[in-house]
């Protein structure tokens, strides 16, 4: 474990305590805004303006604000619009709903079991949470509720810019994603996400439309680096040590960050 290199002043210790509280708030805000479909505004207000950002899930990593925006905002809004068009003939009331992006689903990603490690220099924070959550939809084209259990882990880097704590990297590792009404929802049969093609760049993927159930096809956006970066739980899946557990550190580059695609140290990479 890395030891902090020098004694901190009282003022520095206060600033680090404040940093931990503020980053916890920003992460919670991400969860609530994600739940409400408020994605574009989150990117604009709570992500770094000065550094190249990354966002990753099991299926791959997106690099840069344009790539991330294309997935988290553009694709999300397109999906929400398509879903609204399916719902409106069935539930005309949705015309009056203010935030139509919320109609597709509520992604309820809870934050538990935090580790919040503030850098010795007070400029960055590295965090890890479990997020045992669910995604549910009340109004659906099938006229019945839907729900999915989704248990993930969040590894997040934050950076201090102009007195505000902003996201730098967010790595989402999904362990369980199964429909609530399906037996054996906790176990998957294989790795999720699109397989990498020959040149290593995954194309924008579409889930196939289920004509019988009348789902809207969903777009996902391109990834910069394809997955799989983490595997869903299955009967043959070994425990996975991702995202890495943060340890005390002095400056950001001292330990690996959550843009790293492997373990905390290269020698631990699988």
């Amino acid at each position: 474990m890395t030891e902090l290199k020098r004694e901190r002043t009282l003022s520095e210790r206060i600033a680090r305590a404040d940093a931990a509280t503020e980053c916890e708030k920003v992460m919670a805000l991400h969860c609530y805004w994600h739940a409400g479909g408020i994605h574009r505004e989150e990117i604009e207000q709570y992500w770094t303006k000065r550094h190249p950002l990354t966002w990753a899930h099991n299926f791959g990593q997106m690099k840069g604000v344009d790539n991330y925006t294309s997935c988290y905002a553009d694709a999300q809004e397109a999906n929400a619009e398509a879903y609204y068009k399916l719902l409106e003939p069935i539930y005309p009331e949705v015309k009056e709903v203010k935030e139509k992006r919320a109609l597709i689903e509520e992604a309820m990603h809870l934050l538990v079991t935090p580790i919040i490690e503030v850098a010795g220099d007070g400029q960055t924070v590295k965090c890890l949470w479990y997020t045992p959550g669910c995604i549910f939809s009340s109004l659906t084209p099938r006229k019945e509720r839907e729900g999915m259990w989704i248990w993930e882990r969040y590894g997040a880097d934050f950076v201090l810019e102009d007195g505000r704590w902003l996201f730098l990297n967010l790595k989402v590792c999904c362990d369980i994603a199964g429909m609530m009404d399906e037996p054996g929802w906790g176990l998957s049969e294989g790795p999720p996400g699109p397989p990498p093609d020959e040149d290593g760049a995954a194309e924008a993927s579409e889930l196939s439309q289920d004509a019988e159930n009348n789902d809207a096809p969903r777009t996902q956006g391109e990834v910069s680096i394809p997955g799989p970066l983490h595997y869903n739980l299955s009967s043959t899946q070994l425990p996975q040590a991702t995202p890495f557990i943060p340890v005390p550190y002095e400056i950001f580059s001292e330990t690996y960050d959550y843009a790293t695609l492997t373990g905390i140290y290269e020698e631990d990479a699988k």
Binding site: E24, G36, K98, E99, L103, L110, L139, E146, D181
Partner: protein
């Protein structure tokens, strides 16, 4: 809101957040341990002016005033326990009809996750939001009823002489699922109809205060940085966009 704080102010605010989280944790455990009277006395507002405007809201409306909250949370809860125990004892003679058995077979676990606590710039109030995945088990003469209960809390806190206190608490229930029930069989909340409060509760302002019909509800509001408390952005009835007017029993929620 751009404001620079001194070190003293920063550490005070950090400590405030910790204390508020502890306060909410105590609420959760007091509720689970059936210590409702103690909770009202120790965790809720004690200043008379704050007690008049204290509120507890759920999907079906608001209880306003600490005495209304007490009569529901303590007295009515006790009445339910007594009725349940009498009915259980009648059916099962192995259960003794004594006060120690009040609440038998009941377990209420409302966890607190995803904390977002915002302390006002003036340091006098704070607002918090939590997701609460929980389970509720209650016993009756026909056996035990269990359910998963997923909720969201929006809470206003106020600093009194003896520390932070709960002032307005709102709990919106997103869904309830009984074990063995499929999600698709859980009814979608009605568009127009008000949800009825459990029988026996005295609701000051009955209204449809919350619904997950359109998934994530705008209310309770996700806290934002603020300088002074505004009831229109709070977790009492005045903050609810569906609120149409006050009842006769309270004088409003303006911080004196």
């Amino acid at each position: 809101m751009e404001r620079k704080y001194t070190d003293d102010e920063i550490i005070r605010r950090v400590w405030d957040v910790l204390e508020i989280k502890n306060l909410m944790g105590r609420h959760a455990y007091f509720h689970a341990y059936d210590m409702h009277e103690a909770e009202i006395c120790e965790l809720w507002v004690s200043d008379e002016s704050h007690q008049k405007t204290a509120s507890f809201g759920q999907n079906w409306g608001y209880q306003v005033g600490i005495e209304t909250i007490r009569s529901n949370y303590v007295d009515q809860n006790l009445a339910w326990h007594r009725a349940a125990l009498s009915a259980i004892c009648e059916k099962d003679s192995s259960v003794a009809h004594k006060s120690e058995n009040l609440g038998i077979g009941t377990m209420l676990i409302h966890t607190l996750t995803t904390p977002y606590v915002e302390v006002a710039g003036d340091g006098r109030t704070a607002q918090g939001m939590w997701y609460s995945p929980g389970q509720v088990t209650v016993a009756g003469p026909d056996g035990v009823e269990c359910m998963w209960m997923y909720e969201r809390y929006g809470v206003d806190f106020i600093r009194e002489q003896t520390g932070w206190k709960i002032w307005h608490m709102f709990i919106g229930t997103d869904f309830i699922v009984h074990p063995g029930t499929l999600m698709r069989d859980v009814p979608v909340p009605d568009e127009e109809a008000s949800v009825s409060a459990p029988e026996g509760l005295d609701i000051t302002i009955p209204m449809q205060a919350y619904s997950a019909r359109h998934n994530f509800s705008e209310y309770p509001y996700i806290p934002q940085p603020y300088e002074v408390f505004d009831p229109k952005r709070g977790n009492g009835p005045e903050g609810n966009p569906a609120y149409k007017g006050y009842g006769a029993q309270t004088e409003g929620g303006t911080l004196q």
